[in-house]
């Protein structure tokens, strides 16, 4: 599915070049659950952003299903965001002026799904996450774990193949964190490819494969059984 070949990401300042990522090679197959670990500033988030087409590498090749996605036009990128991948953030990044229901619905509106179908799809997800009663609340009225559940719901409502999670449990207490990880695991079991960035050893363990980054270089890439 994902093929990264010799990816560099660097910033040039006056006299020197600072590498964020250096010669990263990565192959991720359909249905994998990958945890990316590493200390702060090791380039985890940058790597995730590059995979999510939110950032571009300075050098190297990146292809999805053998199709290069490096020089995509804005329109094509937006199509990937609409149909292929979903995002979860540490700070949830819900739209504060919108209710739970509206937040989840947003990607469907951009996808052009009809109103009736949208209702059905959002209702299904709310049901699945046990949040039907909370659908008219605003994000501030929910606990962190619930907010992140809404974030996940929003990320997967478009039925993406790939779910990218940037420290999804970073702001959560451990009980709630576990609940989120269980949810992700269940999604993975259903066949969704997930890549998560995390600091937490325990939560990294939910992944089937763990990649350790240090100073932008892949130090370790192990199967986790």
């Amino acid at each position: 599915m994902i093929h990264l070949n010799n990816i560099d990401k660097y910033y040039d300042s006056k006299f020197q070049r600072t590498f964020v990522l250096k010669a990263v090679n990565l192959e991720i197959k359909d249905g994998e659950f990958v945890s990316i670990m590493g200390p702060s500033g090791s380039g985890k988030s940058t790597l995730l952003n590059i995979i999510g087409l939110l950032d571009t590498p300075s050098a190297g090749e990146y292809s999805l299903y053998d199709k290069s996605v490096l020089d995509l036009k804005e329109k094509a990128k937006v199509d990937y965001h609409r149909n292929f991948m979903g995002f979860i953030f540490q700070a949830y990044h819900l739209i504060e002026e919108m209710t739970v229901y509206e937040n989840i619905e947003t990607p469907l509106i951009y996808k052009g799904v009809k109103s009736k179908d949208r209702q059905a799809m959002v209702a299904d997800l709310l049901d699945r996450f046990n949040m039907v009663a909370k659908k008219d609340l605003f994000p501030q009225q929910l606990s962190g774990g619930q907010q992140q559940l809404v974030g996940i719901a929003r990320a997967i409502i478009g039925k993406p193949k790939l779910l990218l999670a940037d420290e999804p449990t970073g702001n959560l207490q451990s009980v709630q964190g576990e609940m989120i990880m269980e949810t992700l695991k269940a999604l993975n079991d259903e066949g969704m490819t997930i890549i998560q960035v995390t600091h937490n050893e325990k939560f990294a363990g939910y992944g089937k494969r763990i990649i350790r980054l240090e100073d932008g270089i892949v130090r370790k890439d192990v199967k986790n059984v």
Binding site: S45, N49, G52, L54, D55, E74, K75, V78, H81, R82, F87, F89, Q90, A91, H93, L94, I95, E96, E97, T106, P107, Y110, K111, R154, G158, D166, E167, G170
Partner: protein, 792 residues
């Protein structure tokens, strides 16, 4: 204190864009307010500088619709003899034609003159530059020069006691030079001669001895305590018995001289009297107020967006130990400094732009007024009040907020805040739409007027006849005829904007007594065909018939106003005295605008008389080069024929346009200021969109990650503004419609209020708003969402 300046400066530097918008908007609007209020002040205080002003009256019927000002000269003699309450009565009149002044062998100068009775300077307060004004008009053959004309004639030398030649004939001695007042005045003149002098040099029939000549204006200085109404009744009784029933005699009253300027009076005979238009002054004052409101709305919007940050900052200050009043003071003084800076910028702007503004819009006032202490005190006090009014509420809120809350950053820009901002921006747009619509309408009215004169005015040249040209009329005609480019030639008194004689007389026509009331000028056979006047009944003058000399052509209004069923062939006496033959109406022509278009078309008689003042020539080429050539040749020829009188040559269509000078200037003034208002409006929404984008940066990022396209984000950001414009349009349209129809009411002939004016105004406002906002939206929408979503 130093601290306040430092923090103001730093706050300014930190957000240069929004602060510049704030400062610039305020400065531009204050500059407009300064210009318009000083102008309005000088208009509204017109004629207030005369010391005895409250006792000076003009004998007229300003109080009813005709607003006539003329009286027969003999009346004054009777007043002097019979009415003791009158301290002095002064007759003033202009002359038909501007005379030509000449000193020694210098170039002759054409300029206006008025004649008055010697007590003129007792009624009207003027300062003498040379000589003694009280005595200046006592002797015949003397003249009082206004300073500008004295400078032109004598340079910097003393003029007092020197002589000059008037119309190449009469030698006059300069008895005084008078300074022109800096304040606005309804009287304007380049020189004054006494009425005794008038008798000698402008001898005009029996104007000083007969009751039939209504050539003068009468200004009356009443004794203190005298009742003006009683005096006026006494004055009316002084007319001879057969005139007592004359409507005009019965209508006249003593009207306050200071009410003259804004009374919309009918000017006649020499235009030394100037009127103003109070409505225009009021409209411009309103525009100034609106512009100020728009700028203040910007100020509120911009500063309220900055409160949030200030609240955080004060949290820190409070923890360190600041108390409520010191924070209040610092917020208030920061606002005051901003207002003060914009005031100084505004004064600078007025200074820099005034020459342009004044030549473009015709607004005049003395720019030194800006540096008088009273102006500075008033404006600084005004600025202080404004800044206090518009920053006291946020200042209170900021200073009384709790330190802990501030530090916790729990304060969110609530939705109520954005609603109130929406209302303010909607108000701004409503104002902008009204202003745009009004500008379009004024332009439409000017176009309508200058295209609907109902006579041909293109390619006609008017040569003003000097005394020497009049004498050699036939030679002039021959010379022009021989020119290949010359078409028809007409000698006439007609010229657009020149006022015509107005006569009233009682006549017996076909056995019926009719009171005739009409304007009249002389024209010849070719005039009607040159102007393309359309014949309704009868015939036009004929060149071949010598017998046409006492024939007349009237317009439709004349026939209608005097209810004549058979106008053709009606005969009556034109003129005064004995042995005047009867004149006969031979034709009726369609109405055309021979007067300024603000006035309705009057009853008109075109006589086939010998006195003429213009030679009109139609030209059979519109090629610019041959036109220029033609004018130049005619000029050389006429200068040869009229060596001591400069000859003026003008185009008829230009003269028509000049009639619209005040409308055109009003349009320019209005559009200039409306334009500024719109620019300030744009600055405001620019700032608003800046804030909106900043506030929604995170949301934009989330939406983009969730699959929103740039175009969709821009649409989302612009939607609010479009909605505001739409609401503003709904509010503004009826308001604009009402104001515009009120304004049109004063025109006798007016354009209609088309729907497209409003549509155009709305679309323009929408277009401007979208352009301004999209600039920011585009920047926000194309930004990389990663920056916005980076974990804090």
């Amino acid at each position: 204190m130093q601290n306040i300046f430092k923090s103001t400066y730093r706050n300014f530097i930190r957000k240069p864009a929004t602060n510049l918008i704030n400062l610039g908007g305020l400065a531009v609007s204050l500059a407009l307010v300064i210009i318009l209020s000083v102008y309005s002040y000088s208009e509204l205080t017109t004629d207030n500088f005369h010391k005895n002003g409250d006792r000076v009256y003009i004998y007229s019927d300003l109080h009813n619709e005709f607003k006539r000002l003329n009286i027969p000269a003999v009346l004054k003699d009777q007043i002097d003899l019979n009415i003791p309450e009158v301290e002095s009565a002064v007759r003033v009149a202009g002359t038909w034609e501007e005379p030509v002044y000449q000193v020694d062998d210098h170039d002759p100068i054409t300029s206006d003159i008025i004649t008055a009775d010697p007590e003129f300077f007792r009624l009207f307060t003027y300062e003498a530059a040379e000589g003694n004004l009280e005595m200046a008009l006592n002797d015949p053959m003397t003249i009082v020069l206004a300073e500008p004309l004295a400078k032109k004639l004598f340079g910097n030398e003393q003029a007092l006691g020197k002589t000059l030649k008037l119309n190449n004939k009469h030698t006059l001695t300069v008895s005084a030079v008078v300074k022109m007042p800096e304040a606005n005045s309804s009287l304007s003149f380049s020189s004054i001669a006494s009425n005794a002098t008038r008798k000698i040099i402008f001898a005009n029939g029996g104007e000083f001895t007969e009751w039939g000549y209504w050539n003068f204006n009468l200004f009356v200085l009443l004794k203190e305590g005298a009742n003006s109404n009683e005096t006026a009744t006494k004055m009316a009784a002084l007319y001879p018995k057969d005139m007592l029933e004359n409507q005009r005699v019965k209508d006249y009253k003593l009207n306050h001289f200071q009410d003259l300027y804004f009374s919309n009076f009918t000017v006649s005979r020499g235009d030394y009297l100037h009127g103003g238009d109070k409505r225009k002054v009021m409209i411009l004052l309103m525009v100034a107020a609106l512009v100020l409101i728009i700028a203040l709305v910007n100020f509120i919007n911009i500063s309220s967006s900055q409160w949030l940050e200030k609240i955080k900052q004060t949290g820190v200050l409070k923890v360190v130990g600041a108390d409520k009043t010191s924070i209040l003071k610092s917020v208030l003084s920061e606002a005051f400094i901003l207002f003060l800076m914009s005031l100084f910028l505004a004064i600078l702007l007025v200074q820099l732009s005034f020459p342009f503004v004044s030549s473009y819009t015709g607004i005049h006032f003395n720019p030194f007024l800006l540096f008088t202490p009273s102006f500075l005190i008033v404006s600084i006090a005004g600025i202080f009040l404004l800044s206090l009014m518009f920053s006291i509420i946020p200042a209170m809120r900021i200073s009384s907020s709790k330190a802990v809350d501030n530090l916790k950053k729990t304060i969110h820009s609530g939705s109520s805040n954005s609603v109130s901002r929406g209302i303010l921006v909607t108000a701004q747009f409503a104002i902008a739409i009204v202003l745009i619509a009004f500008t379009v309408l004024v332009q439409k009215q000017v176009d309508f007027g200058s295209n609907n004169f109902r006579f041909d005015k293109e390619n006609i040249v008017a040569i003003k006849l000097t005394p020497q040209l009049t004498e050699r009329q036939q030679v002039l005609k021959k010379i022009i005829q021989d020119h290949p480019n010359a078409g028809k030639i007409s000698f006439t008194q007609f010229f657009p904007g020149k006022l015509n004689e107005h006569w009233t007389s009682n006549q017996k026509i076909n056995g019926e007594n009719i009171q005739l009331d009409f304007d009249t000028f002389n024209g010849d056979a070719s005039l009607c065909s040159m102007l393309g006047l359309q014949l309704v009944q009868g015939r036009l003058f004929s060149e071949d018939l010598v017998t046409d000399s006492h024939k007349m052509i009237v317009n439709e209004t004349f026939v209608r106003a005097h209810k004549m069923e058979n106008p053709i062939g009606a005969k009556f006496v034109m003129g005064f005295g004995e042995n005047v033959p009867l004149s006969e109406i031979i034709g009726v022509v369609k109405d055309f605008h021979y007067k300024p278009v603000t006035a309705p078309i009057g009853s008109l008689i075109i006589q086939n008389g010998p006195q003429t003042s213009y030679c009109l020539v139609s030209i059979n080429t519109s090629d610019f080069k041959s036109l220029d050539h033609f004018i130049r040749e005619i000029k050389t020829e006429t200068n040869k024929l009229s060596p001591s009188f400069p000859v003026e040559i003008s185009f008829l269509d230009q003269a028509v346009e000049n009639l619209y000078q005040s409308e055109i200037q009003f349009r320019r003034t209005f559009s200039l200021f409306a334009g500024c208002a719109i620019v300030i409006c744009c600055l405001g929404i620019l700032a608003m969109s800046l804030f909106a984008c900043q506030r929604r940066i995170k949301e934009i990022g989330i939406r983009k990650v969730n699959g929103a396209r740039t175009s969709e984000v821009i649409t989302m950001l612009n939607r609010d503004f479009v909605r505001w414009v739409a609401i503003a349009f709904v509010i503004a349209t009826p308001v604009a419609w009402y104001i515009m129809s009120k304004w049109l009411e004063s025109y006798a002939y007016k354009t209609n209020l088309s729907w497209w004016i409003f549509a155009l105004a709305g679309l323009l406002a929408l277009g401007i708003a979208l352009l301004t906002v999209s600039w920011q939206s585009w920047k926000a929408a194309t930004r990389n969402p990663v920056e916005a979503l980076r974990n804090e």
